[in-house]
């Protein structure tokens, strides 16, 4: 019997070891996902804690008591702030706590009181309480001793001065803050569990039972089938989410959530508005979760495979929930766009206090938008022959058009990610050598890697547009580069300031490093090098690959978007994206890469020069009417020369 059991066990293990998906998803992913997730959230915690701790606590004092003021001013982490209305300032977040030292200090027969007022729902408030309470405790002790001595040592020592710590947060706010720490994550997880069961049956289950093929034999567009499935999963996920939320809120309200989780055994009050907002946010959240679940299930060939896929998807979805457990990530116009995270943060904040209407609408619209993206993705998957029939999918990097497209996007995305992290790391250590490393070693390696992955053969010279251009095109590239400086600097950057103000510190570090270099070296490093290497990769490799798998227009747009992203800053994205568009169009029209290199190098050189040289030395780059006029002439001239080159080619 032992031999038979052992043989059976060996057979099962052999089967498992040959199932690569099971090994990756069940064994390898869990090993990595928790360290990665918790490292990230811990890093956010530490960063936030460090920020909070490094900042002084702003404290106002009501009532004149020199000992209190002196003691507080003696602490380096406490900043005493003057304010007319301390309670209002605390509500507005202008101060972190205030001290009322006005009661009982004048009367000999009354016990003087120091009241420390703070808001426990706010992290800075809690930090301020800890700091100020420690100081005030010393004041209370000193003052008690003094009064005891003044009284000739009669009476009790401990009752001479009272220190009262008052939390201004209402019961509902406290309850909302505590519930908001847990509910978003629980809600996301329950949506995944509830919707996941249904979506796996609706797609992977149908595939396994053969009913999906039967369904696809009906004269109904596949998009209708995908949409109807999505609607069912959406609805069911929203219902399961609402029921879960209702049940969770009841547990909080009834005090069924234990002390260790809430610190409160008697049940928590949660505002009606917070509850209503949470319920309103469930349908948009369910739209996204439902779409993702359906798409993930559609990728699977069987129920078992679907369960394998959904487990890591759920683990990944925990990250936004974890982000909402603390206060280190705020709901902003940016985070309101992030899938899952936006709803988690909105629910967290909404349970505490009303969420600004604009942000709330943005969260809803973004979630519905992501839901539509997920549905579109699902429709695409459900239209694929391999997923309909459950046979082996096309190799991810197949030689088909779709395979080449996937390879190109994976290569370009990997380039951006690796460049982003390694480039930032290298340039953080040393701006100059970091730039040399990223431009002359890292970027070409990544570009070559992308080419290796997505190139389907043919002439590499043609793909990279390495043909020799006519002199007119080179001149056109130079004109365009020169003509872009003023419109980008005085037009695009200024326009961007309206909706995305650039921080003052931005670029100061870089500027500081540049001061060490001569103008010649600066231009060589920051103008000529990018002009050669970035153009080789973005307008050569990326644009060439993208033109083979899609339209020229989309190729220029996508390569420009990647070019914008790789500049490592949201503030640089729009200007570099526009430069990418112009350079990409130049390559397409001129049929050669060199004019775009000239354009890039000239633009960067003049942009550097305009920062370095006095305005008197560069009248046409200084902006104003003359600068704009000259730029427009240069742009028009450059476009004409490039167009002329294009005509000459045809």
């Amino acid at each position: 019997m032992t031999g038979i059991r052992s043989a059976l066990i060996r057979k099962e293990i052999r089967e498992i070891l040959r199932d690569r998906r099971a090994i990756v998803l069940s064994f390898l992913l869990p090993i990595f996902i928790y360290p990665v997730t918790f490292s990230f959230t811990s890093w956010l915690d530490r960063r936030d804690d460090a920020k909070t701790v490094e900042q002084s606590s702003r404290v106002a004092i009501h009532g004149e008591l020199p000992t209190v003021r002196d003691a507080l001013q003696g602490d380096q982490w406490i900043e005493v702030v003057a304010t007319g209305n301390a309670p209002a300032a605390l509500t507005d977040g202008r101060i972190d706590a205030w001290i009322d030292a006005s009661q009982g200090w004048g009367q000999a027969d009354s016990v003087p009181t120091i009241r420390l007022v703070f808001d426990a729902t706010q992290e800075p408030g809690r930090v301020a309480r800890d700091r100020v309470e420690a100081v005030l405790e010393q004041v209370r002790e000193d003052e008690s001793n003094r009064r005891y001595r003044d009284a000739g040592g009669q009476g009790a020592l401990s009752d001479r001065v009272i220190l009262a710590v008052v939390d201004v947060a209402t019961e509902a706010e406290t309850g909302g803050a505590r519930a908001g720490q847990l509910i978003p994550m629980l809600l996301i997880m329950t949506l995944f569990v509830g919707g996941g069961t249904l979506s796996t049956d609706l797609v992977a289950g149908e595939k396994e039972r053969g009913t999906l093929e039967t369904l696809y034999l009906a004269p109904v567009p596949r998009s209708h089938i995908a949409f109807s499935k999505f609607m069912v999963v959406w609805g069911a996920t929203a219902i399961t989410g609402s029921l879960n939320l209702l049940s969770m809120l009841y547990c909080y309200r009834a005090g069924l959530i234990t002390d260790s989780m809430t610190g409160n055994a008697g049940g928590l009050a949660i505002s009606g508005a917070g509850v209503a907002l949470s319920f309103v946010l469930i349908p948009p959240l369910a739209a996204l979760v439902g779409g993702v679940l359906l798409g993930v299930s559609a990728l699977a060939r069987s129920l078992r495979e679907a369960q394998l896929y959904l487990a890591p998807a759920m683990l990944l979805a925990m990250i936004p929930g974890l982000l909402a457990t603390g206060q280190h990530v705020q709901l902003t116009p940016f985070t309101a766009l992030l899938p899952l995270t936006n709803v988690a943060l909105a629910i967290r904040d909404g349970l505490l206090a009303p969420v600004p209407a604009g942000l709330f609408v943005l969260v809803c619209l973004a979630s519905i938008g992501w839901g539509l993206v997920a549905t579109r993705w699902t429709t695409g998957i459900l239209s694929r022959e391999d997923t309909i029939l459950g046979f082996d999918p096309e190799p991810f990097f197949a030689r088909s058009r779709a395979g080449r497209r996937r390879a190109a996007f994976v290569g370009m995305s990997a380039t951006v990610l690796i460049f982003f992290y390694l480039g930032a790391l290298a340039q953080a250590r040393d701006v100059i050598w970091g730039l040399v490393f990223t431009l002359w070693l890292l970027l070409p390696l990544l570009g070559a890697g992308t080419l290796r992955l997505a190139w389907s053969g043919g002439s590499l010279v043609k793909l990279l547009s390495l043909r020799r251009p006519r002199p007119g095109a080179l001149l056109g590239g130079a004109f365009l580069g020169a003509g872009l400086v003023v419109p980008i600097r005085d037009g695009v950057y200024r326009l961007q300031q309206l909706f995305l103000p650039t921080p003052v510190a931005f670029g100061e570090e870089l500027a500081g490093s540049l001061d060490e270099l001569t103008l010649g070296w600066t231009i060589l490093l920051f103008a000529v090098s990018p002009g050669i290497m970035e153009e080789m990769v973005f307008r050569g490799a990326f644009l060439g690959l993208l033109r083979r798998i899609g339209s020229t227009r989309s190729a220029v747009l996508i390569s420009s978007a990647f070019f914008g992203v790789i500049h490592l800053s949201v503030f640089r994205f729009l200007p570099t994206f526009i430069i990418g568009l112009v350079a990409g169009t130049t390559v397409v029209r001129a049929g050669a890469l060199l004019p775009a290199m000239v354009l890039h190098a000239v633009y960067n050189s003049l942009a550097i020069a305009s920062d370095r040289l006095p305005e008197s030395a560069q009248p046409l780059l200084a902006g104003g009417l003359a600068g704009w006029g000259a730029s427009l002439i240069l742009l028009a001239g450059g476009a004409m020369l490039i167009r002329r080159q294009s005509r000459g080619d045809t």
Binding site: R209, E213, L217, A218, P219, V220, P221, E385, L389, D392
Partner: protein, 249 residues
């Protein structure tokens, strides 16, 4: 007799992980007429099912095309699906729907509604003797009864073309017999039946013309008499083996 299926140089290529493309179907051409049972004969993996799936528009051809009841499979996929009844070993039934619900559901999908749908469902129930089980969930039905419901599902909209991919596979003798009789009735009703199988006796009994497909290519096509004459063999098994081995050699 009018041609209800015209297959013109159909090709289906599947990319593989090794990087080598597999031509599952390679320039296959044939036609089937109304009132004809056309047999598609081949080994497992010969390309029969892929060809039929392309004709039913579940798969799209890599090259070539076909017309079903006058509709191009590339350009008018939905019209093709409206004109076709498809049954294979992989087309399953919804376990939690009853037999009647299944027929109604697929009838509605094919645009049959109201009194016409009631009449069609009753007709199919009577024809296949499944009226007694109309309110039973499909998961509770026997394999033979499930197959009857599945055939009913395929014909509930009364299509002029039937594509049957190994319809007797896995059935017991009686259920297989009932299926064969149903196919014969379809011919009498003037339907065009494309019948794929590797059971030689069924081909000999049913098919007016036979196409032998091997390694994705059509190796022979004609009546049984024509195939016997061209190979010099009498039994269909021998004819089949001769065609396959001759071409392979």
């Amino acid at each position: 007799m009018s041609e209800l299926i015209q297959v013109d140089n159909l090709v289906k290529v599947f990319p593989t992980h090794s990087g080598t493309d597999v031509r599952a179907v390679d320039r296959v051409s044939f036609e089937c007429r109304a009132g004809e049972i056309f047999g598609l004969l081949g080994l497992n993996g010969a390309g029969k099912t892929t060809t039929l799936r392309m004709l039913s528009t579940v798969l799209s051809p890599t090259e070539g095309t076909a017309r079903v009841a006058g509709h191009d499979i590339r350009e008018s996929a939905q019209d093709v699906r409206r004109s076709i009844g498809f049954l294979s070993g992989t087309t399953g039934l919804y376990h939690r729907l009853t037999a009647e619900e299944t027929l109604r559901f697929f009838g509605e999908f094919h645009g049959v509604r109201g009194a016409e749908l009631d009449a069609r469902v009753d007709h199919v129930m009577d024809r296949f003797g499944i009226g007694e089980y109309r309110n039973q969930r499909c998961e509770k039905l026997s394999t033979g009864m499930k197959q009857k419901v599945n055939i009913g599902r395929a014909v509930v909209h009364n299509p002029p073309v039937l594509v049957l991919d190994e319809p007797t596979s896995g059935l017991d003798v009686l259920a297989a017999q009932a299926t064969v009789e149903f196919v014969e009735q379809c011919r009498e009703e003037g339907k065009c039946v494309l019948f794929s199988t590797h059971i030689m006796s069924e081909v000999e009994r049913l098919c007016d013309r036979i196409a032998i497909i091997h390694d994705g290519t059509l190796r022979a096509c004609g009546t049984l008499a024509e195939l016997r004459e061209s190979t010099g063999e009498h039994y269909l098994e021998d004819v089949f083996r001769r065609v396959v081995t001759r071409e392979a050699a």
